[in-house]
Amino acid sequence: MAKVKLAESKINKIKEICASFGNKPGEAINVLHKVQGEFGYLPAEVQEVIAQELNVSVAQIYGIVTFYSFFTMTPKGEFPISVCMGTACYVRGAEKVLDEFKRELKIGVGETTPDGKFSLNCLRCVGACGLAPVVLIGEKVYGRLTPDGVKDILNEYRS
């Protein structure tokens, strides 16, 4: 007997969301969307509960989660970093900035540092092209960033 453990409040919340979609297998995408909105990410245990409630295999739920890049299985960091990869930012060196974040944090895109502090993601144009290249950390916007500036910004959050 294999066990999947999860806090009661979480189990109940997931069940509630599944029920709000009539526990229909066809609503899996919507359910996942809502559950991720609730918990920020979709860990394996959560997918197990959803599969059970919707009466589909957990392999199929995982198939959906890995198909849509919107879904994530890793929790966001305390300070989620989003690098804009829109055209303007890209042209002005966003990729180099992104590389510098990867190097500094030793994580890839879509990952979170082991201490849970930072996570790294890419975004489409955030509508601040005049400031390109643009990086968001939480709600805060950093513009005209160069690779050299990355370390200083991170240090603001590291202390």
Partner: protein, 590 residues
């Protein structure tokens, strides 16, 4: 059925409305190549994602080429299956698939039996102009199945079989684009999934992405070791399929040649799992009658219906999916394991050898039996009752490696005492056979009367779920049969709700029963092959002088000499087993 007129490759045809271009063409003898398409028509299973586009054809008046497997015929349709445009497109599609496919055909488990390989051959591919990136997934090695998903072509045939036919749901398409493969949840190993090891995904896989664990090396090593007495047993379904591996017609019965081949390979004793099947009937039949007796006397603790337990794929399935019903199935071991227990306990004594010096090899139509033979409860101090469980295909490989010309072999007999069997033992290989064999014996034991007609044709067939009531001299006995775990689930849910009224239910995981097992020669979706094996099984039964298990003289002798009575003390220890809860429970963290 309404007929419509179409033209395929300049042939005017009248075809049934509503069918696909592919089927209409096939019926007219025009072979359109396919890859992702997979059908088992005998059990109405179909995988038709229309994704690979190998089957494209040109339809006059349409701009784009259309996949034949996913396009319905329409009145007046003019179809070309080999115009220049089609030939070029088909080749480009294939070259694209090959650009991301490892080219290690020489050492691939599907070498010579791979549908991608034969496509490349058929379409005359000599070079791969596109050089794609190669994915590098880790191999997943389970006790019975190897997944090498670098070879996966994303046809999703395995996924359909696992989800629809078996309702196991161990596999799903995961990831996107170049990374896309079919895998268990969280891309964990198969052992962590609800997989039953039925192996039907291997049977469905057109390429070498899924294959069984090969144990032929270990068997050759054991045979070469002079200290070891190597004993072999062969399952009922093997003898009606093995010939296919050597170019013989499907449905050829090769029992005698098989025995001869095993002797030439060098096994010390050639025995028959059919003998153990007869033994299973003695035990399971007695268990059934005891339960019916107690039940009619009002014993509330007794469980009816009894469920057969000789299919290890099915056993894995109910351990995972019906943990609250573990006391319902028969406790009788499968014939493979009964044989192993008899060989390692009784035969060793008879031959005066130590358990460790005997190696028991079984030849099975089955992949799940590999897993079963490795279960801890079937070992004594780490020494398994059955050391190696080979598939029909692995036996064919051994025969080829030993340079044996199978077709010219003489017909030889099994050895005794564990080689004699009845027709009842033979029909274990087909869906409905186990319960028919049990009925033949249970009827006579229950009524004390001689059975006039041993053929219970009402229990035979290929319907996924079948029901029949057999008259036991005034007592109606209701029997259910399912093949395919989806169909078993349907019956089990009825039992769970408590209103089924069945006395006994037989379940087999594979289409058609073990004759359609995943260890058999590949049929590539040609269900006629399974039908022919089925006919052969009943022919072999009809030709047997003894057709009821309890009349097997060697079985009678075994009880007299060693076991005592069916379901007695020794049987209880050696021929019966118990089941484990393998379900996944969601628990509150506390």
């Amino acid at each position: 059925m309404e007929k419509i007129n179409i033209i395929i490759d300049n042939k005017s045809l009248q075809v049934e409305k509503g069918q696909t271009v592919l089927k209409a063409a096939r019926a007219a003898g025009i072979e359109i190549p396919t890859l992702c398409y997979y059908e088992l028509d005998g059990v109405k299973l179909e995988n038709r994602p229309g994704g690979c586009r190998i089957c494209v054809v040109e339809i006059e008046g349409r701009k784009n080429l259309a996949p034949a497997c996913a396009t319905e015929v329409a009145e007046g349709m003019v179809i070309h299956t080999c115009s220049l445009r089609v030939v070029n497109a088909r080749r480009t599609v294939l070259e694209l698939i090959l650009s991301d496919h490892p080219a290690d055909c020489l050492i691939c488990p599907k070498n010579g039996k791979c549908e991608l390989q034969s496509l490349a051959q058929r379409l005359g591919v000599r070079e791969i102009p596109f050089q794609g990136e190669q994915s590098t997934y880790r191999k997943d090695l389970s006790p019975a199945i190897i997944r090498d998903v670098d070879k996966c072509v994303m046809c999703r045939r395995c996924e359909t079989v696992c989800n629809v036919w078996q309702t196991v749901g161990a596999l799903s398409a995961v990831n996107r684009g170049f990374q896309a493969v079919v895998a268990p949840a969280f891309e964990q190993d198969l052992v962590k999934s609800p997989c039953t090891y039925c192996g039907q995904c291997i049977m469905a896989c057109p390429v070498g992405a899924l294959s069984e664990v090969d144990q032929t090396r270990q068997v050759i090593t054991a045979i070469s070791d002079p200290k070891k007495t190597v004993v072999v047993q062969t399952a009922p379904a093997v003898r009606v399929a093995l010939g296919e591996e050597f170019g013989m017609e499907p449905g050829s019965i090769v029992t005698g040649q098989m025995a001869a081949a095993l002797r030439r390979i060098g096994f010390d004793y050639i025995f028959d799992t059919d003998f153990a099947a007869d033994l299973t009937i003695m035990e399971e039949g007695t268990e059934l009658l005891t339960r019916i007796d107690k039940f009619t006397k009002g014993d509330k603790n007794v469980k009816l219906p009894i469920l057969t337990s000789c299919c290890p794929g099915w056993v894995n399935f109910f351990e995972t999916n019906y943990p609250d019903m573990l006391d319902v199935p028969s406790t009788a071991k499968s014939p493979q394991q009964m044989f192993g227990a008899v060989a390692k306990n009784y035969l060793t004594t008879k031959l005066g050898i130590k358990r460790e010096d005997m190696v028991v090899v079984s030849i099975m139509p089955c992949v799940a039996k590999k897993f079963e033979s490795q279960r801890d409860e079937f070992k004594e101090n780490g020494n398994p009752d059955v050391d190696y469980s080979l598939t029909t295909r692995e036996l064919a490989e051994l025969i080829r490696q030993f340079n044996i010309d199978f077709k010219t072999l003489p017909i030889e007999d099994f050895d005794n005492p564990l080689g004699e069997s009845t027709g009842a033992g033979v029909i274990f290989g087909a869906t409905g056979g186990v319960i028919e064999a049990a009925t033949r014996t249970a009827y006579e034991l229950f009524t004390g009367k001689k059975l006039e007609k041993v053929d219970f044709t009402e229990l035979r067939g290929l319907e996924g779920v079948r029901e029949a009531t057999v008259d036991f001299n005034g007592t109606p006995i209701k029997i259910g049969i399912a093949h395919g775990l989806s169909n078993a689930r349907q019956l089990l849910d009825e039992v769970k709700n408590g209103n089924s009224g069945f006395h006994a239910i037989e379940v087999m995981a594979c289409p058609g029963g073990c004759i359609g097992g995943a260890g058999q020669p590949f049929h590539h979706g040609n269900f006629d092959i399974i039908r022919k094996r089925q006919e052969a099984i009943y022919r072999e039964d009809a030709g047997k002088p003894i057709r009821k298990s309890h009349e097997n003289p060697y079985i009678q002798a075994l009880y007299k000499e060693w076991l005592g009575t069916p379901c007695g003390e020794i049987s209880h220890h050696l021929l019966h087993t118990h089941y484990f809860d393998k379900s996944k429970h969601i628990e509150i963290e506390g």
